[in-house]
Symmetry: C2
Subunit: 672 residues, 2 copies
Amino acid sequence: MQTKSAMVIFQPSGRRGRVPLGISIVEASRRLGVDIEAPCGEKQVCGKCKIRIEHGSFQKPGIESKYLHAGPWQPGEEKYISPEEMEKGYRMGCVATVEGDLLIFVPEAARAGKQVVSKAPRPLDITLNPAVKQYYVELVPPTLEDPTGNFERLCAALEKQYDLKSLRIDLSVLRSLQDTLAAGDWKVTVTVWMDQEIIHVRPGSGSGNFGLAIDVGTTTVAAYLCDLVSGQVIDTLSMMNPQVKYGEDVVSRISYHMENPDGLKRMSTDLVDGLNSLIDQALSRDYTISSPGGNNGSRPDQVIRFQPEDILDVSIAGNTAMHHILLQLDPEPLGVIPFTPDIHHSLDIKAHRLGLKINPAAHIFILPNEAGFVGGDNVGVILAEEPHRQDPVQLIIDIGTNGELVLGNKDRLICSSCATGPALEGAQIEFGMRAAPGAIERLTIDPVTHDVDYKVIGRDPWRSYSEPQDMKTKGICGSGILDAVAQLFLAGIVNKSGAFGKHQFPKRFRRHPETGIKEFVLAWAEETSIGKNIAITQHDIRQIQLAKASIYTGCKLMMKKLGIDSVDSVKIAGAFGSHIDCTLALVIGMFPDCAIDDIVSVGNAAGDGCRIALLNRDKRLEADWVSRNVEYMELTLEEDFQWQLMEAIQFPHMTDTFDHLAGVVPEHILNE
Amino acid sequence: MQTKSAMVIFQPSGRRGRVPLGISIVEASRRLGVDIEAPCGEKQVCGKCKIRIEHGSFQKPGIESKYLHAGPWQPGEEKYISPEEMEKGYRMGCVATVEGDLLIFVPEAARAGKQVVSKAPRPLDITLNPAVKQYYVELVPPTLEDPTGNFERLCAALEKQYDLKSLRIDLSVLRSLQDTLAAGDWKVTVTVWMDQEIIHVRPGSGSGNFGLAIDVGTTTVAAYLCDLVSGQVIDTLSMMNPQVKYGEDVVSRISYHMENPDGLKRMSTDLVDGLNSLIDQALSRDYTISSPGGNNGSRPDQVIRFQPEDILDVSIAGNTAMHHILLQLDPEPLGVIPFTPDIHHSLDIKAHRLGLKINPAAHIFILPNEAGFVGGDNVGVILAEEPHRQDPVQLIIDIGTNGELVLGNKDRLICSSCATGPALEGAQIEFGMRAAPGAIERLTIDPVTHDVDYKVIGRDPWRSYSEPQDMKTKGICGSGILDAVAQLFLAGIVNKSGAFGKHQFPKRFRRHPETGIKEFVLAWAEETSIGKNIAITQHDIRQIQLAKASIYTGCKLMMKKLGIDSVDSVKIAGAFGSHIDCTLALVIGMFPDCAIDDIVSVGNAAGDGCRIALLNRDKRLEADWVSRNVEYMELTLEEDFQWQLMEAIQFPHMTDTFDHLAGVVPEHILNE
């Protein structure tokens, strides 16, 4: 124990390396590139990071050394680790520390998997007017009679042919200008940002003007690679937000920053590295570009491969915390009353300053923030859905890791944030997980037999058409949990208050043998890859009730503020919104009552808005206008908030308002 | 000889280290931080880098190893090294290479000394309107009712109190804004650049708004530390341009770049490092600041010490080559027809991007260039002297390492560059040196006895009032050489054509015992610190004749272009201009004939102009106007150029035009 570091090996990945003594096993896993799930941000409240110590010493295996080298057993671990598991060497990775050499097994349940992100771009009807445009010019070479400098020759040509005036030039472009002019024999294509700055010059008339619209979600990141000449989306790239390993939600990330001196920089750098890996993906692919028009005239189809300098513009939208963490602005005040952000206004930041490996002279446009909890992603939603330009009153519900609500029309627009908690994303749910392969995403319960059928991500046939061992079910994701709760209610297994009824079929309903908590088994152990029954517990149902009550209450309080009883349309945005069954969401009372036909899923509207800002510079001004003209409403400050929330936790009376659900909802529910 | 590197020790400095085999000894000296004079840029044409190999091997001293470890004797070395010196181990540092371990002695004559730079600022009568201004504001802290972001609160206060609108903010300032607001209890002092960007926020009402005006000369760098509230110069800092070790003049530097792949970056970095060391000097000193006014109201006297972030603005002026090398723009085309610069226009570059260790968000204003050979320093001269705003026709001669000429008035202004060569700076002169301690700076020759009296820099009493051994004369600097040539002419020792006359006093006049070249001894060996007579040779006189002819011809051709026979005033700018005896300069025909009273030395006008640009932002626009409206005239393209130059090499007829010199010039010259 004289050494200051120890060797740690993670199985099954086999990643290994020396780490300092005293750090937690989750921290060690980060340093060695092994992702252990830690949705609560090492708060010791989720139990997801349960790992097994195989050997506490490579020389002397044995139960004692397991505790010797991973630190003593801590109070609280027994909450998540049974005596049998303890016997086998299970520990909580956020509690156990590295005190000596360790061989650690990471069970599948604790492995942070690659999420399935479905954020395909919608066709947008927008005027193409990008911030960066390209101009072809032919210069007259300098002579002794006219030895004017290269930059001034270029400016003169751009002014003469395109009426561009008072341009400046990025220093890096100026540095290579001479060589570029020589290479192009004084014929060059110039990229100009906002009619103000020359950010790229390439020899000859070759085209290549591309941009990235990046939607940085708390959980997922989607990037749309766009041709700025045609406006088309060439590719959609996505990844998990690499910051997920520091905590699943915004609050965990802020805590990680507060508890780690370099936490902010590390989270920012991880995100930038992640974005760079997305860019690398784009750079390694062949794309066929076809464009009938654009400001360079018509172009034939061509297969191209990008160079980093071909990416000349980027727009980024994220919630206010993602915004602050990316820019390394202290996010701590976002979590403390009065939740003041550092800045609302949009920013233009040079790519080289953020470390994005695109053209270093390009500017990154950062969408503005509305408030401490409602950021540029919501501005993007508004840019895409344009409630501020229309008469009909829209209610837009963007369900991500956080819920953001917008209500209003051209006369008045209000927004708010509702603490849905991470339950709808699968966190803090006993068998919850992100929308990754193996997650139950669709589920039905027979109201008579109480038999369960379900579908997992990554496998087309439902359970009823499969052999049990082929399902390899791993857990439940957000849409699956919502289905499960609604179906339990529709099948009469849980009542209006969300409690399991007294008279249950004994087959799937039971009390957990140890905890005594009521649960309903969705998948039997033989159908899973985790070796045990996957169930939904009373606690899980409460979590979903809280989340849906939160959204419902937010909508109701906002409607009250505007003095309206109904809305003209409900739009569900976000990837989760695209996957949920709107009827079932209405069944459990997630949204205010409205006709099913008036509910529409608008997909990743935040990403769409980000793309709009990329393709039309006027929309950037509009974004700033929106951010300061949509009124933020802090729900928790409303007088009725607590009362309304309590009310909304129940499942709704079907007969009262949901008469259009007749036929969908069984008789015994309607008559209860 | 199996090793790839060798140990080299330089005496008397004692600097030592391992360097790769095969590099020149001058290069080795650079790498080990020993400055050996190499004014010609290792072109093997100046002989200044003569050093002595003490031991060619630390184990086996001896004459053989001297050549073994420093490479074989090369043809050409005998031109600068006598057989006796060769016997003693002398080599040319630019020719001899490191082929094994070496102990090297650097004689005093070869040591690049610290130059005496006299660039005291003149009082300037300018309107104080700096680009950066400070504003004190008190903010209302955010509340739940008004949780608006920090940046927007700041902007609102600045708009309300000072009518500043549409401000942006540097990312680094935004990052610390929250902490600063907290530290100042929501009372802060904000620094705004050009009414556009917030570049600094400090807690409370403390002041501290300082700027640097930096004149980057080929040989010397002068920096004026200014209080931007009072406009006063607080300190003048100066140094040799660290690039001097790569070559004394612009052409040598350009060659160094062309011959070394990393030469440009190295020269740029060396200059930036040098500027940072000047800034460090300023940071280590105590200054007493007193100001009766300024935009913060009256301030009492206070003793302050700077922090780097207190320096909030910088203006830099240099010739076009210095400009390009600093910014790492390829200077090669500046030396090739048609001498086209990369850019004329002024630039604003963030301090962090140039690597200047001041406030990282500050902008560096780079003065614009007029042409390939006339840069921002000349724009500075024009800003300071304002010929373009006046009726009288001014001729401004800025004599530095290069000569720059401006002629005209408010109706028309032309400029040109004349290749004076480095002779006026003491280079390519047998005993020439820069204006450093030990240099002869003033000199008289008795026309009857031909006895010499002189004064050296760093010692007040002249030779005639001193003991010989107290003089410790080391060489001759520019003003001393000019005096010597004029006095030789006035004493009748050299004739109108610049040749030594046939009938000479044998005491000081002689032929060099080895070369046979005629020379006149100015200081006897016993008066020197270099152990031999210091003389001026026929060759040296020719160099000065070429330099003065160059200036004279330039002036004449420019006057011809403007169609004028005389000018209203002649202004001599530059440090050298401050030191020369204008009467003697007229005697040898350096300037067109004019009344002595109309000749005025204006000191470091380039530095003054740079200071003007620092203190008044409107002058930055004027600088850009000047740079594009002064007409550059390439003298070598003029039809009469060669003929006029040949004519001007002679010393002038005194009787013809210099009648106002009667009484100064002896009878025998006037009547010759």
